[in-house]
Point group: C2
Amino acid sequence: MKKGEKTRLELAAIAYRLFITNGYESTSVDEIIKTAGIAKGTFYYHFDSKEQLLEEVIGLMIASGSEKAKAILASDASGPEKIVGIILAYRPVEEELLIRDELNKPENSILHERMNEKLREDIVPILSKVVKEGIKEGVFHCDSIPERIRAILVLSSNLFDEGQFTKKDISVFIDIIEKTLGAKPGTMGFIRKLVG
Amino acid sequence: MKKGEKTRLELAAIAYRLFITNGYESTSVDEIIKTAGIAKGTFYYHFDSKEQLLEEVIGLMIASGSEKAKAILASDASGPEKIVGIILAYRPVEEELLIRDELNKPENSILHERMNEKLREDIVPILSKVVKEGIKEGVFHCDSIPERIRAILVLSSNLFDEGQFTKKDISVFIDIIEKTLGAKPGTMGFIRKLVG
DNA sequence: CCTTTTTTAGACTATCGGTCGGTTTTATTG
DNA sequence: CAATAAAACCGACCGATAGTCTAAAAAAGG
């Protein structure tokens, strides 16, 4: 029972690498088992389907971000910094930049959308807490916090996941965040440095 | 009209129906040609790939909205009314409501995402014109118009396409639109009546 | 040691998107 | 009208893929 869990994780880790380099659709089960050095039966002993493996992989991708996010939440950074930091925590790290390109390929739209959904479920409660703190401190002024967070997350994923965004896009994004959360103009301006 | 054009359109119409009921991925070319009563070779005579057919179908879906939108643009409605009207023009009409539900199924995520992309390409220039007019009239006050329009469209599709939205969601949406375009509070409040 | 879990090899199935060479229908033109 | 070219159509076939199955053997674990 213990060994099974381990194999499952190893398979997910291998699949993760293959998915982000070749895409989900273009990665065959045969390729996965060949890379892992296991038999096909073993794969289907652990997973009901390729799709279920995908869920597992998405879970892994989010889990690592989730840990980073919670560290930031507990830190002594400012409200605005926490918000941006937490959003970025869930994004692929520097050396995995090719992931983003892969995720945006049409063939990966399923993986992409699924991940964003799960991601929002994870982030909305965390960021809601941050905004609530920020309101107490007088940095933010707004109601309907989860709804506003959700809107910001939708915008951020649609803006940054595309890979291509102009300075205007960023300025508009910053402007909308500030106004949506009722922050003073310039509060979120530091975002420019982070994404430039 | 050439015979080929006609067959192409018929195939797209048939595929449209199959796509929204079974999803794009789950609809096989075999099913399409069986429904259409043609041979596989004929299908690939008209389309290079299943993907190209998808483009065609999306084109059809958008075309009808595009006409309605241009009528609204030329009307004498107010700026805010035009914006909302044009966005709604591209949404499925009353008797096609089930389409929206279908589009939101995970199996339709490709169709859904692709449609929204094309949709934005279509709408952004139109709405940009409206906002420009609105600025002259003093209703809106903002720069970076296309970028702001795009953001609003992203939010609107993510909010309304889900089907489930609360009153708070709508209020937040209205608030963001007003602030994004620099409109006076209450300017877009009439949206509540349209989506309630 | 005995039981349960895990793993093995790989042939097999069903389905899929797409190809190909050939045939029929339609339009053109001398 | 007859010859020819072009457009439209046909369906068997192909390679790849996800997933199944069997029967047995290797680990693990108590």
